[in-house]
């Protein structure tokens, strides 16, 4: 049948004998029209949808009422009302819907029909488009209804016409049960005439209380009357043409088939040339069975094969009939194991069964019938139709000339359309509620959200069940759940479900996906379809107000969002997350596919005033024709531009990109929100904002990290629970992670953007979590990449000094394929880490992990080798290809004090004086004597703090720290200062030691001449501020300098007291001699020294092997000096728009008593839960070279991979622009069609429309 405009539509033709190619569904419609149908309705559902769609289109011309009812129960009741009012009525739905309508259906046979009522219930053997298959024929037996089951479109037309007569004669509603195969098969159909003159016109409702009020006394009587009605139906069926016999009139064996298998059986017999020799009885009426006809036909038969899909409905009835009438007939079918009891029958299966029954040889290609389908626990293969993704066949041979196996072909499941607003909703909800939340989906297009990547379906039951499942689970587990439901499904059965949720107070979020249409079944109208769209179809009504309904149901927290306005939607879902109890978010955006076409069924035109925020705000603004991806920005990061290669093989995990989505509001300047684009100079009014937050290539934390670590990367991995990947990222850039994660001065945290919102992410604690996690693993999971060394190339280098810089340099050189000898004056490697940092901050066994890891790479360590005594620099330079000095600064600076006690009585002394390094080393060797009484420490750095805290652990009566700096000027790590104070260290700021007294120290207040200059010379004494403090021990922690004698003998250029080097390469003034660390006057931090060691390794490599070879392992760039605010920091808004501020997590700490009585590590590591929550606070401020949330989280089918590049197919992209909103790298930009017809790209720099 060709489709055309309604006037002159072929289905309306009065021409009897006309032949049209009709779908089974269309043939049913034609049959109803021929029967003079006066009322049509239904609820769309595959495979029956085309029936209601046709009536939607034709009802104006037919002059009959039509409705897409709100649900199937209501449809059936509406149709029954029309029937009682004397109009022939037809109602269509799928099999699931008829059970939903089971309540009214079950009483209708009692009350009976006035005019004919035909209930079309599309069946779906093999679950082709349904969650189950069911045999509706049993409803005939169960509820006392005639059931017709036509095999072909032509038979469907006849059956429909006859069904009206049958219903009127028997006063019973008639079920017409076509299956998917019939509904969706087109065949030539010959029309009958329009004999509407012979059908009753609506007579109006006739009062008949004895029949129409099935009160108990009436119902009992009516039940008896039903038997008479069924008898009438049977008698009428006996006289009908709904059964036939082909083939010979006699024979020992015959086949009886019903429904579509009857047609298939006829074709199988024809193909085998058996038509003329095998009797085939065809039944299109299955309840009540035409018993008289059957008895006639069965006479003389010895064997009968019964072919019917699904249950043995006819087969069992025939056995009963034969038993009752004493007929000795062997019946073959499902009960005998010759045919399966489930799924559709395709020709090969029937061919095998028929040939087997006729005792004819089976063709080689056909499959054996299953032996016992009734009891088989696994479905036999023969009857399984080849799935869409499979080519069928038992084995899976490799195809000639290809590696492909048919079963292994990439599957192509259905997927939400490009620009489907549901995708944005799922993406947004998942981003807010995370992967741990349980999601319950429902029936509609949005069911496609259940799979990856959207992952929003933990269970799916039936229409309307998403909400109730979510509520039931929430009430049982106490966890907030999310239920999704589409607009049409909400009206269908979601309203009572939501009322129930409200009544029970379940803590569940209901997301109503309102695309204003019933999209999945073919874009039928839904109650929320805007009125304007229906005017043209002649069915102008009011559009249902979902908000008002939800409010009336008792929901207090209701929000409506445009799912494509991600920041607004994210904020709404965050608020919903923080709400306890039932809440509803309505995600409203019209289905773009239905908008772009005439809504199929009802001739519903695109709504001229469909609410579309983008168009409504500026209808004349240019719209992008597609979006494209900037190669420069996509999958690149600032670390890569600094030469780092991302070795990550897994993708940026879900949580990472979700963290970005969460931070959209923060990052994106409010001036560029779509609603405010007009006020932004860089954005075109009414279009998507193109001027964004200017995301920096490298996040501020990584920029300021001396090692340039990809912090956002490992935070993302931790958040997603992939700690091994996080470890890989950490080890790749950091040779001494176990130590650094405990002692780093953390410039990253000072620059953390999150700190502007609430508190910085506890970056170092996250790193420590990973390292401690790794140490707990049975076999330490050393990622291959980060410890892989280049092949040995025979060059040999010596590294002198095994502190942080030396260890890092040795590590760097070893990775570059050098043979490395590492020397240190002390017996153990570690340098300052071992001797200068107390064990309560860095336990020696933790440092050992770092050292061992480096030695395991092949670095040879030689302890007890002192330069000048055991080693000679000239000799080393002569014997190796290069030497790297990392000797540190071991000489404590001294202060000159007036020795006031010199005049004291003989035998008395002033305080003992010691430098901090000596003090700390003697404390760490485990044999430290008790501290003598009161201890006073001079200095404001980490050594000073460490010395004071160590003194308390060594039993000092008190520990007082004197420093020039105010608290926030102190170089010491702030947290360490806090810890020290908590332990009882007294800190006196803006003071210096003026002199030493007998058992005490005289100090005096100072003031800086220039604010910000912390050099001692800048401070002058404040008169009259002197005081005396008791002190038996004075510790000088005012810095260290290198061994001057050593430098003097090394024949190198010296700068001040330090070895002069090139800051980038570590090159000294001598050929092949490089240096790093405190020896060169570095930044005095452990992490900075490590970075310097790595740089010097690179510099030495460059000198020995050339730039190209050295570039394979780029060094960390020298970080910029931190400024306020740090460079590249996006604008951040404070306020509660982002939900309550999240506090950073701290590791548990030892109690005061326990910590002071030992050198046990004070701070413990984060728990798994704490670490993941803390990592999720990272806002992923930098670009990522490894991200593809467009594919992995959003899953828009317009995206594809072209080699390593992600691209957008302009033929599929419909310019919704959502991807450009969330792309972490801001690599997606709109493309406009210019007036000349060429595309103009609107880059992030601004748009040129």
């Amino acid at each position: 049948m060709s489709t055309g405009e309604t006037p002159g539509h072929p289905l309306l033709s009065a021409e009897a004998g006309r032949v049209e190619l009709l779908l089974g569904n269309e043939a049913i419609v034609r049959g109803a029209i021929e029967a003079g149908v006066g009322f049509a309705c239904g609820y769309p559902g595959t495979p029956s949808s085309e029936i209601t769609d046709a009536f939607a289109r034709l009802s104006p011309a037919l002059g009959i009422p039509f409705e897409y009812s709100v649900n199937e129960k209501i449809a059936l009741e509406s149709a029954y009302g029309a029937c009682l009012a004397g109009a022939r009525a037809i109602v269509a739905m799928k099999h699931l819907g008829l059970l939903y309508a089971g309540d009214p259906l079950s009483t209708m046979p009692y009350m009976g029909t006035t005019a004919g009522l035909v209930i079309v219930s599309g069946g779906d053997p093999s679950c082709l488009t349904s969650p189950n298959e069911q045999d509706q024929r049993h409803l005939g037996d169960f509820l006392h209804l005639p059931v017709l089951d036509p095999p072909t479109p032509q038979a469907a037309l006849y059956a429909t016409r006859f069904a009206f007569e049958l219903s009127e004669a028997s006063h019973l509603p008639v079920i017409l049960r076509p299956t998917t195969r019939l509904c969706h098969t087109s065949a030539p159909v010959t029309f009958g005439g329009l004999d509407s003159e012979g059908t009753p016109r609506p007579t109006g409702f006739q009062r008949d209380p004895a029949r129409l009020l099935p009160l108990p006394q009436n119902a009992r009587r009516l039940r008896v009357e039903i038997e008479q009605r069924l008898a009438t139906a049977r008698a009428l069926i006996e006289t009908s043409t709904l059964f036939s016999r082909q083939g010979p009139a006699q024979g020992p064996r015959a086949i009886l088939a019903a429904g579509v298998p009857a047609a298939t059986s006829a074709d199988v017999l024809a193909a085998r040339g058996l038509t003329d020799t095998t009797p085939l009885l065809t039944l299109a009426a299955v309840h009540p069975l035409p018993e008289s006809w059957l008895l006639t036909q069965l006479k003389g038969l010895r064997e009968l094969l019964v072919i019917e899909e699904l249950s043995p409905f006819i087969e069992d009835n025939l056995r009963a009939i034969c038993h009752l009438h004493g007929i000795d007939l062997h019946i073959t079918g499902k009960r005998t194991g010759h045919l399966p009891i489930y799924h559709e029958y395709e020709p090969p299966l029937l061919e095998a069964a028929i040939l087997n029954f006729l005792k004819l040889p089976s063709p080689s290609t056909t499959l054996q019938a299953p032996t016992s389908p009734l009891t088989a626990s696994t479905p036999p293969a023969p009857n399984t139709p080849p799935p869409l993704g499979g080519a069928g066949g038992g084995d899976n041979p490799t195809l000639p000339c290809t590696d492909l196996k048919p079963h292994d072909l990439p599957v192509r499941p259905p997927i939400l359309c490009a620009a489907c607003p549901h995708r944005s909703t799922f993406f947004t909800v998942r981003s807010v509620f995370g992967p741990e939340t349980l999601y319950f989906n429902d029936i509609g297009c949005y069911t496609l959200g259940v799979g990856e990547p959207l992952g929003t379906g933990d269970a799916l039951l039936c229409m309307g069940a998403g909400l109730t499942l979510a509520a039931g689970v929430a009430r049982t587990t106490g966890q907030k759940t999310v239920g999704f439901i589409g607009d049409s499904t909400f009206f269908h059965s979601g309203m009572p479900a939501l009322l129930n949720t409200v009544r029970q107070g379940a803590d569940t979020l209901t997301v109503i996906l309102d695309n204003e249409v019933t999209a999945m079944t073919g874009f039928q109208e839904s109650p929320s379809t805007p009125v304007a769209a229906l005017v043209q179809a002649g069915r102008a009504r009011s559009a249902a107000d979902i908000e008002a309904i939800v409010r009336a149901l008792g929901v207090d927290h209701i929000e409506t969002v445009d799912p494509e306005d991600l920041p607004t939607a994210l904020a709404a879902f965050r608020r919903a997350r923080e709400t306890t109890g039932p809440c509803v978010v309505i995600a409203r955006r019209p289905c773009p596919v239905s908008e772009g076409r005439v809504i199929s069924a009802g001739g519903v035109a695109p709504a001229p005033n469909a609410p579309d925020a983008k168009q409504a705000s500026a209808p004349l603004a240019p719209q992008p024709v597609t979006f494209a991806i900037s190669e420069d920005l996509c999958r690149t990061c600032g670390r890569e531009s600094a030469g780092h290669r991302c070795h990550q093989e897994t993708l940026v995990p879900f949580e990472g990109a979700m963290a970005h989505a969460r931070s959209l509001e923060v990052i994106q300047s409010p001036a560029c929100a779509p609603s405010q684009a007009e006020s932004c100079d860089s954005c075109t009014p009414g279009t998507l904002p193109t001027h964004r937050g200017e995301r920096p290539a490298t996040a501020p934390c990584a920029s300021l990290c001396p090692l340039h670590l990809c912090i956002q990367g490992y935070a993302a991995h931790i958040a997603s629970g992939d700690h091994a990947q996080a470890l890989e990222l950490i080890l790749d850039g950091l040779p001494l992670p176990d130590s650094v994660c405990r002692v780093c001065h953390k410039p990253c945290e000072d620059s953390c953007v999150r700190g502007d919102l609430d508190e910085p992410v506890a970056i170092n604690a996250l790193k420590r979590f990973v390292m401690d996690w790794a140490a707990r693993q049975e076999s330490f999971p050393l990622p291959a990449q980060s410890t892989r060394c280049e092949a040995d190339h025979g060059r040999r280098v010596a590294v002198l000094g095994a502190g942080p810089a030396g260890l890092a340099a040795a590590h760097g050189l070893r990775r570059r394929g050098y043979s490395v000898d590492l020397y240190d004056a002390r017996d153990q490697a570690g340098g300052l880490l071992r001797h200068g940092i107390p064990a309560y901050r860095l336990p020696p066994e933790v440092l050992d992990r770092d050292v061992e890891r480096i030695l395991e790479m092949g670095v040879r360590f030689h302890g007890g080798q002192r330069l000048g005594a055991d080693l000679d620099l000239d000799t080393l330079l002569a014997e190796s290809d290069g030497v790297l000095l990392a000797l540190g600064a071991g000489e404590g600076r001294r202060l000159e004090f007036p020795s006031l006690w010199a005049e004291a009585p003989a035998g008395t002394t002033g305080p003992l004086i010691v430098d901090a390094l000596t003090w700390l080393e003697s404390s760490n060797d485990g044999q430290a004597p008790l501290a003598p009484g009161h201890v006073l420490v001079v200095g404001g750095g980490n050594s000073a703090i460490d010395s004071a805290r160590t003194a308390l652990r060594r039993g000092a009566a008190s520990a007082t720290l004197v420093c020039l700096e105010e608290r926030d000027e102190m170089p010491a790590i702030a947290e360490e200062v806090t810890e020290a104070q908590a332990e009882g260290v007294v800190i006196l700021h803006r003071r210096r030691v003026r002199g030493l007294l007998q058992g005490s120290v005289e100090i005096i207040g100072v003031a800086p001449e220039v604010v910000g200059d912390l050099r001692p010379a800048n401070f002058t004494d404040t008169a009259g501020s002197d005081e005396t403090l008791p002190a038996e021990q004075l510790i000088l922690a005012v810095g260290q300098v290198p061994d001057g004698d050593l430098l003097g003998s090394a024949d190198v250029r010296v700068n001040d007291m330090y070895l002069a080097i090139d800051a980038h390469t570590g090159a000294t003034s001598r050929d092949r001699l490089f240096a790093a660390g405190d020896l060169t006057g570095g930044d005095g931090t452990v992490t900075g020294s490590i970075a310097a060691g790595l740089r010097a390794a690179w510099g030495l490599d460059q000198a020995l092997r050339g730039e190209a070879a050295a570039a394979a392992l780029p060094p960390p760039p020298i970080p910029p000096q931190p400024t306020a605010p740090p460079p590249g920091r996006p604008g951040v808004e404070r306020g509660d728009r982002h939900g309550p501020p999240g506090k950073r997590r701290h590791g548990a700490e030892l109690g005061g008593r326990e910590r002071l009585s030992s050198f046990k590590e004070v701070v413990s590591t984060l728990t798994e839960e704490e670490a993941r929550a803390e990592a999720a606070r990272c806002m992923i401020c930098g670009l990522c070279g490894n991200c593809r949330p467009c594919l992995d989280l959003f899953g828009c089918p317009a995206f594809f991979m072209s080699g390593p590049a992600i691209e957008i197919d302009p033929n599929l992209c419909v310019s919704c622009g959502v991807c450009a909103e969330f792309c972490p790298n801001e690599a997606i930009y709109p493309v406009f069609a210019s007036e000349e017809g060429t595309d103009t790209a609107g880059h992030r720099e601004g748009v040129t429309p």
Binding site: S186, E346, G392, L409, V411, L1191, G1195
Partner: protein, 209 residues
């Protein structure tokens, strides 16, 4: 099933026009006195999933094209052609659009699309004659890639495997769908028709011992 029956299997991706290609053949057949039945199973398949339709020309009651029964395979997408492998037989004529539609599952998995030549070769090892052409490009040249199905119908018609004259199919194309698209579809059909005699069958693969 009888010698006078021709079974056509049309496969492709939802949205490519598989169902309407089937309707065009069926309508043309009906208009010219042939019995025709069309089978289609769809539901969610319009959402970019695999989709197929069958056309059975000749006497009979059903529209099945079962395993080994496709006399003609019209594949609007090469991967879908190979998916239909079990349905072809040694005499099948297959016409395959070489333009690929990458399944999103492949993109997601980071997997690559199989070689089109490999797909066609695999098919040629089983089917009688296999022709490949980039019908998407052809349709784009004559108007729009949306006329892909019309272009392929033209080529199929030119390969003389249908009991239908080109005029019959043109008439069917001109009688269905939005009138605005008719000129575009007819141009694509004609371009496809003109391409048919330039096509060479794909060589079956050399079997390895």
């Amino acid at each position: 099933m009888s010698p006078s029956t021709l079974r056509i299997l049309i496969v492709g991706v939802g949205g490519q026009g598989v169902l309407s290609a089937a309707r065009h053949i069926g309508q043309a057949a009906l208009d010219h006195g042939l019995e025709a039945r069309i089978g289609q199973i769809h539901g969610l398949s319009q959402r970019g999933g695999s989709v197929e339709s069958t056309v059975v020309l000749g006497p009979g009651s059903t529209g099945f094209v079962s395993m080994g029964q496709a006399d003609v395979l019209l594949a609007l997408e090469p991967l879908e052609a190979l998916r239909a492998l079990a349905r072809v037989h040694g005499e099948t004529l297959a016409l395959v659009n070489r333009a690929t539609v990458i399944p999103f599952s492949q993109t997601l998995a980071g997997a690559s699309y199989p070689s089109v030549d490999g797909l066609l070769g695999g098919l040629a090892g089983v089917a009688g004659r296999v022709y490949g052409l980039d019908a998407t490009a052809l349709a784009s040249e004559t108007g729009s890639p949306r006329s892909l199905n019309a272009a392929m119908l033209g080529t199929l018609c030119g390969l003389d495997c249908l009991p239908l004259a080109a005029a019959a199919l043109r008439q069917s194309l001109a009688g269905a769908g939005r009138p605005a698209f008719h000129p575009m579809n007819l141009a694509a059909f004609d371009a496809g028709l003109a391409t048919a005699d330039q096509l060479e069958p794909t060589a079956p693969p050399t079997r390895q011992a």
